[in-house]
Amino acid sequence: MSEEHYLELCENPVQFENASSVNNVFFDEANKQVFAVRSGGATGVVVKGPDDKNSVAFRMDDKGEVKCIKFSIGNKILAVQRTPKSVDFISFIPDYPHLECSQECKMKNASILGFCWTNWNEIVFVTDQGIEFYQVLPDKRSLKLLKSQSVNVNWYMYCPETAVILLSTTAQGNVLQPFAFKSGTMSKMPKFEIELPVVPKPAKPNLTERDIAVATIYGQLYVMYLKHHSRTTDSPCAEVVLYQLPREGSYKKTNVLKLNTTGKFALNVVDNLVVVHHQSSQTSIIFDIKLREPDCALNVHQPVLPGRSIHPYRIPLTGLAAVPTQPPVPCELCILYETFSPACLTCAVCSPFASGYLWYLQVKLPPTVNLLQDKGKLMDFLLRRRDCKMVILSVCAQMLNGGDKGGLPVVATVFDKLNQVYKEYLEAEQTYTVATESGPSRGSAARERPVRTQAVIDQSDMYTHVLSSFSEKKDTSHKFIIAVLMEYIRSLNQVQITVQHYLYELVIKMLVQHNLFYMLHQFLQYHVLSDSKPLACLLLSLESTYPPAHQLSLDMLKRLSTANDEIVEVLLSRQQVLGALRFIRSVGGHGNISARKFLDAARQTADQMLFYTIFRFFEQRNMRLRGNPSFIPGEHCEEHVVYFKQVFGEQALMKQVTV
């Protein structure tokens, strides 16, 4: 069972002291920091983030109860809200004095619901009457109002990745108004209405922040609405409705995630997957909005995998309490179903140590392999995950090693999916190269180099991790091995990817090992194994076991048209001196060939007439080139001239024609 937990908690959680009468705990979604404020800050504020860089400890004066506390991006400025009307600021810029200032909200009678940092020095106040966008000027100890907008606000939600604030407006609270912020500018995005299952009468706030989450999935901003079952419709189960908010244009209701149950839920977004935790069953399910369900209507999704609990976590005992012999304490997770934090799982832990923990949730890919039987769907799923490479390669290896009964059609599907992603990357790379080569003047926007994600599984990956060892398996039939290799080559060809030589070599090795020369011959005949010099040389080396390889090799060298020297060498090595000469003459390269090489070869045949012919040919060539039939010293043909005179006599040498 344990290998079925596909969700786990990160290894190093953020540990914090539990909230108590003297200790207030705050969580900042944007920086993922937990603030433990003791006695209003007088006895210390401990800030802990996911890594040590984000952890700070300091003291501040106790000026009343802290309602909200957040660092700006990069821990530059601390904002503390103590009253409903104002926010205090303390500068944390290194090598600067800790200057302090305070800012009241502009709107009269408004009370501040909260604030969000959108930059290292830009902040948005959200009040019940609207929003106010400020720039903090730490050295002047003041704030500058950049923009404001008045609107009645029930509650708000902030997405730090996109710097978008979502405001709940109207009496029912179901009209959401998003604002986007970017370096000093604020833009109003189209508002939209969440369709409520039941419309209460009289109108009262019906949509609460507990039902809404914002997150970026696959680079797009989504508002997720947890729609509990309604008694009026015939669908008894809860579902999550996704609204996509594009930067430009209006929102779209894009996806519906079927939860198939009711109760209390919490949502996370991890690695572009929507994770839904179900309280009563203590299980979690995941959804991939890019995974199309064949048996569902468009954009209605079922969970990718059956529900499983999060992998049990044991809290290591550290510090004073640690006793070396004591095993780690298993902990029971109490997911805080009250708040949504798309990125993290905030948990209160029932443990003997009154501590709270904050974890990142992680998707463990290996268990998904066994839970998702459909290999094509599994590949679609894996290819979109961040750390997928080794898992995908292991799926391929497992699939080929007979673990599954899918056979070649499944192998083909998997290869096609891998190569589609591979192809898209190569194309992007190509476009980038072309764009950069054509200079920065052409093409307005400076292109970014395409990122090579782990999902790009190239030929060398496949060769190293899968095909090479697979082809050496003794218990697999060579027929299947060859079929798989050919299937991979077919798949690469289908998306017009140039096949690397080492794959051909693998195929040839298999065919030669099993004496399947006629098969090899046919592949070459249809140019399935593309021409290359290394391949031609490989074929030449097969000549002794399979004579036709010689012809195949020569044909290939001929087609390459850059291998004329090699052709001459091959022919000379077979003592086809005349053939070599005729060939080099036909391609027009006989002006500058080495006479010595040909004469050497002709001498070796022990055919005197052949030697005579070759000798005479070069004499004539010399005549044409230099007006003199004799060889120049640089050609090192002296011994052949001596031999020629010996055999045919001095007078047989060609005379220089005198005009």
Binding site: A483, I489, N493, Y526, P548, K558
Partner: protein, 446 residues
């Protein structure tokens, strides 16, 4: 071969054909036992013995000069005899035709009956004689000696030109079928009567190809050409998903009386000696041969499974190939009348190509040139066979024709040119041009 010219007024015909083994009747008075098959059978016994004896004597006599290569043919004023030692001590003799046809007779016999030796082992001389009688009685009638020419000498295979991607798709198809129907040992794939893929070894494929293209396919082409309502058209009712059908075995799977018997063939007779069922299945212009060990009994279930699996895929593939072929043809320009009349053959892969033959089946061979010219081609081929060196022969024929034969490594090319008043140099140039356009992707010395 020059003597061939003098015979031109006679059309060649088969005088006799016999198979004998000299070791079977070595004692005086038992000569008749040597003869395993004799055509025509009505010839008087003593004459049979005389003829066999003469052959045996000639072979024996010539062996004293060259023990490894005894005489292959005997030419007399009236007829020619060709001898062929098919297997150790088994001799086949036929008059008046090329040795190649003789060898082919044996290969075809072997494809469907196995070797003489095996028949002897299984049932002695009686079984062998029965088999010979059964096979050659019909086969010799289908020989059309007058239309045999150079192509019969080569016994080549026409390969279907295809792009890499479509070829890989066919590979993939073959591999998948062989995987899911693991009974299948070998597969061969043909399109338009031209070979694309052979899982059989070359020599076996060569004779199987000959059988398919000259005997099986022509017999089955009529129903396809026939109209929709013709009674000749096979039943396709109830199965509109694909056009697949069996060319061997059951004509109609739906028929409750259907028999699931397939022709048996013998391959790899040199080593593993396999007897196989030959299933030929066709969808549109694509034909696939599936070969299954003869020790397995083929059932209705198997045939239905094969039909269900292969039919739809093959139909799709056939239309893919057709489409691709048309695309390629459009790219390479309209199908104009070939300017050159030539025959090309590669000994290495048995690939042959002819623009001289319009259509070649067992019964008719339509060539676009005069038989005399075809004879010259045969003569040049004969000359080539004598030496290993590359060479080129240019012949000026009696009419205005020039005949050029070129041999480069294992390839032979024969070109027939009809140019009035052309000289040797012009002819040579013309052939060079042909090589540059038609054979630029192979290494062909000029």
């Amino acid at each position: 071969m020059a003597s061939g010219m003098q015979e031109k007024q006679y059309t060649p015909s088969l005088l006799s054909f016999f198979v004998y083994n000299p070791s079977f009747g070595s004692r005086e008075g038992e000569e008749e036992k040597k003869i395993l098959f004799y055509h025509p059978s009505e010839v008087e016994k003593n004459e049979k013995i005389r003829n066999v004896g003469l052959c045996e004597a000639i072979v024996q006599f010539t062996r004293t000069f060259c023990p490894t290569k005894p005489a292959k043919s005997l030419h007399t004023q009236k007829n020619r005899q060709f001898f062929f030692e098919a297997e150790d001590s088994f001799w086949i003799v036929m008059d008046t035709v090329y040795g190649a046809v003789l060898r082919e007779c044996y290969s075809m016999y072997k494809l469907f009956n196995g070797t003489f030796g095996r028949a002897m082992e299984a049932g002695g001389v009686e079984l062998l004689m029965q088999k010979l009688d059964k096979f050659f009685y019909r086969y010799l009638q289908t020989l059309h000696l007058q239309s045999c020419d150079l192509l019969d000498v080569f016994g080549g295979i026409a390969f279907f030109p295809l792009d890499k991607m479509t070829y890989l798709k066919i590979q993939s198809f073959v591999n998948r079928v062989e995987e899911s129907l693991s009974l299948i040992k070998y597969t061969a794939f043909l399109y338009n009567d031209q070979l694309i893929w052979s899982g059989l070894e070359q020599d076996d494929m060569r004779i199987l190809y000959k059988y398919l293209t000259t005997s099986l396919f022509p017999r089955h082409s009529e129903p396809e050409l026939a109209g929709r309502d013709s009674p000749l058209r096979p039943e396709v009712a109830g199965n509109l998903l694909h056009y697949g059908r069996f060319l061997t075995g059951p004509a109609n799977l739906k028929d409750p009386e259907a028999k699931f018997r397939f022709p048996r063939i013998f391959v790899n007779t040199e080593d593993s000696y396999e007897e196989l069922h030959l299933i030929v299945y066709k969808a549109m212009s694509a034909a696939v041969c599936f070969m299954i060990s003869a020790s397995v009994e083929l059932t209705r279930e198997f045939c239905e499974q094969l039909d269900g699996l292969v039919g739809p895929q093959l139909t799709l593939l056939a239309s893919d190939i057709c489409e691709q072929y048309n695309v390629n043809r459009r790219i390479s320009g309209p199908d104009k009348e070939p300017q050159f009349k030539f025959i090309y053959f590669n000994h290495m892969n048995l690939a042959e190509k002819s623009t001289i033959h319009m259509r070649k089946t067992a019964s008719v061979s339509l060539t676009s040139v005069h038989p005399d010219l075809m004879k010259i081609l045969g003569d040049i081929n004969c000359d080539f066979a004598r030496v290993d060196e590359d060479e080129e022969i240019i012949v000026k024929a009696m009419t205005d024709y020039w005949v050029v034969g070129k041999k480069s490594d294992q390839r032979e090319l024969y070109v027939i040119l009809n140019q009035k008043n052309a000289n040797l140099i012009e002819v040579n140039e013309e052939v060079k041009r042909l090589c540059a356009t038609q054979f630029n992707n192979i290494f062909f010395l000029d």
